[in-house]
Symmetry: C2
Subunit: 142 residues, 2 copies
DNA sequence: TTGCGAGTGGTGATATTATAACATCCTTGA
DNA sequence: TCAAGGATGTTATAATATCACCACTCGCAA
């Protein structure tokens, strides 16, 4: 992600939060920045390390609270199968995204609005879906 | 799961392993039994507890090794979003299953053969998919 | 001004999930 | 017999996540 698009994403996040009546505080903003800067899913404890240059080192709850907030705001998604987090430059309040994760380079593509499953148990009502596809992106397939 | 179908599932698992040139050892068999008996996803450390009545208590690696084996054999699936495991009475060697998990009663339904995503990034090749739907089953929707 | 209450974050401890590293034992087949 | 591989036991520790409690700030209303 370029410097410019990072700045734009952070501004967009800022107004997205404001619209929701919430605050993108410095800690939250910094965590979002770190997640967006990464070009692959980031581990919570790597964020912790990254926040640590200084005497007032961040502790786990700080990071997890920030991530919870960002996930609720739709600014970050958790990759459940990796216990890692990816940023999302285009915030959206709808439920879950469909993620395509390249096992070679770690890049993640996000898609939305997948149709309901064709073969659902009778009467089942979906509330939240986790959809993560692992494989190889066009660049890494050579 | 009834006593009868449990026994049938274990026998099926036995021959499934034999066909693959692998052994369903006592530990593995016991773990599969515990997972199948449960009517909801089971945590690894709950299995550990369940294996513990006796002086030679099982240690974490024992359980995780058994689970790894069973997953490789397609007899057990991991619910990534719960860090829990579900049994699978009809072993199948194809990749991942599509899981429907009721958040109320914990029951899990499994489906196979979902079509490829409609909106995939250009050139992406899927190797493994994690698909987990959380919601409410027909029984719990009242 | 004062005092409440909600929201946020700091801190220490601890719970939960998973693996590393190495030893032991058992089967199988040369 | 003995070496090799697979399975398991054992100790320790890594990695992930949450709890419980306190302190600070801000807005707001008495």
């Amino acid at each position: 992600m370029t410097r410019d698009s990072l700045i734009r994403a952070l501004e967009a996040a800022e107004s997205h939060c404001t619209e929701r009546g919430e605050k993108l505080t410095p800690v939250r903003r910094r965590v979002l920045e770190l997640v967006l800067e990464a070009d692959a899913p980031v581990k919570a404890y790597d964020l912790l390390e990254a926040l640590k240059p200084g005497p007032g080192a961040a502790k786990p709850p700080t990071v997890y609270r920030a991530l919870d907030f960002l996930m609720a705001a739709g600014l970050v998604h958790k990759v459940e199968a990796l216990n890692a987090f990816v940023g999302c430059s285009h915030a959206h309040d709808d439920g879950g995204a469909e993620l395509f994760i390249c096992s070679d380079c770690g890049s993640v593509e996000e898609r939305h609005g997948a149709p309901d499953p064709v073969n659902m148990p009778d009467g089942f009502v979906i509330e939240r879906s986790v959809v993560e596809h692992f494989g190889h992106c066009a660049n890494c397939r050579h």
